[in-house]
Amino acid sequence: MNAILLSAVWGIVMMFSGIFTTSKTAIRNVAVVGLVLLVLGNYADMIGYHLMTVNVHKMLYFDTFGLLGNLIAFGSTLLYVLLSGRDMEKVGHHLAEYFALIFFVLCGVAIVTTFNTLLMLFLGIEIISIPLYILTGADKRNLKSNEASLKYFLMGAFSTGLMLLGIAFLYGATQTGTFFIDDLWSGKTAVTPLFMAGLLLLLVSMAFKVSAAPFHFWTPDVYDGAPTVFTSFMATIVKVSIFVGFIRLFDEAFGDSQEKWQVFVAIIAAATLFIGNVTAVFQQSVKRMLAYSSIAQAGFMLLALLALNGVAKEGIILYAAAYSIATIGIFAVLIRMKDYTFEGFNGLARQQPVLAATCTIFLLSLAGIPLTGGFFAKYYMLSSVVATGHYLWLVIFAVLCAAVSVYYYFRVIQAMYFKDGDGATEAEPGLGFKGLLVVLAVIVVVLGVWPQSLLGQLSRLIYTW
């Protein structure tokens, strides 16, 4: 509850900070303080210290899995604001409001990771979505940004409609009429058509929100059109948090009927992996390539949804951390580039050796090369599916797709190191920016070299729910 309260309150504080000061540095510092408080508040929740005792009527359920998801979301947002907060000023003149919206999104994130009824899930998803529609269109004079925002809004509204229909069906399918996710299955022995229809509609709408194929059509346009700072936020923190909610929903509500829907998730995962990776190969713009790569990474995260065992839950937390940090790092570098195409990265290594070196580590992690966090994240996803004993074809397919992904990630590395060009950045990046990038790269490497240190604690936490 700490996180929900703090993020909502700090969103309002951010709004008011826009009235009392016009200094952009001051506003950014207020946001950083808020994020530090959020991380601390969430940690306090984990060790059992609560700011307030609120009777939530069992509508929220704070377990370690959800709180860990929160911790990763808030921690990555903190790193993201420290790295890219300065670039947010260039988007428009409403810096305080952008931060307020980001805090409201985090409030939605805290709900989606800890919900216990479909009612709260719906509210959380909406609290995440509506500020994102606005952030997508924040660059008002850019037509592409306007188009992306409208497209996202219309498609998002449609998928929300599907979600509500699914929730209504599930409500009707229970004997007593309940929204609580652990009661949805109670008193049932077989899947009724009404239950299945509700489940599938919910699956489709959640798959839309995490941009899984074939519900991914909005992703490249929206991620490409949105201001790059906000694309970074959407593609990482928001996406992995919705995944935590996705897994929570299917584990608690539909875990008992797993074999009935597993095949659908397998098909969606395979399609997502295939479309994301193959289309990314043909992109000319690094920003658009990263949009497709985020689809491909969502395909990997769907493997955890398919397996739904202990390994999968540990893995998704690790994946969330590794993927978020690496992608935030790449986007932070990308924002500073003058030219977003692959050619724009030519010769970056000679101009900005620190940027190029850290960027290489992030790209290696996304491709899943050993000694980076991405390797163990992918390893855990695959081994969770192997542990189920079925769907070995999907594991092989995923490995092949990961091999394809190496091609387009290495294209950036090749451009940076082996091609001549000026690799122009917009302004000389400051020392703090470079230092933070190095910190991020170190985190990625530590996750890859000593995953036991983190994973041991993770499994201890997750298994002692």
Binding site: A8, H57, E97, L119, M120, I127, P131, K140, L194
Partner: protein
């Protein structure tokens, strides 16, 4: 067939007919007017289900406020049948096929649905009164109720961000005008 059933069938047919006409009308203003019919019919259903408050709110908010907004948009954009974009024939066929597939699944699901238990309370009269609704809303559902305020607040902030004219715009316009 009692009065309730007669009313139910009348309202259902009215709602479905209205919904079909919303989609098929060439003139967008006609579509909006038919949409009002749909909302009124659904409000009637709410009254049949003893949800009087919901029925009135549905009428005021949807049939009233939102419809007026719709009509304003049409008037401002000057939409009529001529400006309707021509859609690709294949796109239409694909739409019919996917929509039909969804309809098939939903009809099959509802046909086999086991709804013997009476889900809706009918004829008891007081479940949907504001008094009872308020008690439930502020006791059992107080957490979602309060949290939805975050949703509305973020929407309001969004309106300001999108709608407010940036101050720099004025100064640049001014300098262009005077500085030449």
């Amino acid at each position: 067939m009692g009065t309730t059933q007669l009313l139910f069938w009348f309202l259902s047919i009215l709602a479905i007919l209205g919904a079909i006409l919303v989609v098929t009308s060439k003139n967008p203003v006609h579509s909006v007017l038919w949409l009002i019919v749909v909302f009124v019919a659904i409000s009637g259903h709410y009254i049949l289900l003893d949800a009087q408050f919901l029925a009135i709110v549905n009428l005021i908010v949807y049939a009233g406020a939102i419809m007026v907004l719709f009509l304003f948009v049409f008037m401002l954009m000057n939409l009529n049948a001529d400006t309707e974009p021509q859609k690709n024939r294949w796109l239409k066929i694909a739409g019919v096929v996917t929509g039909g597939a969804l309809l098939l699944v939903l009809v099959a699901a509802l046909k086999k649905a086991d709804l013997k238990a009476q889900m809706a309370e009918m004829g008891k009269g007081d479940i949907g009164l504001i008094h009872n609704l308020g008690l439930v809303l502020f006791k059992d559902y107080v957490v979602p109720f309060e949290i939805s305020s975050v949703l509305f607040l973020s929407a309001m902030v969004g309106v300001v961000v999108i709608g407010k004219k940036a101050e720099e715009d004025k100064t640049t316009l001014g300098s262009q005008k005077y500085g030449g």
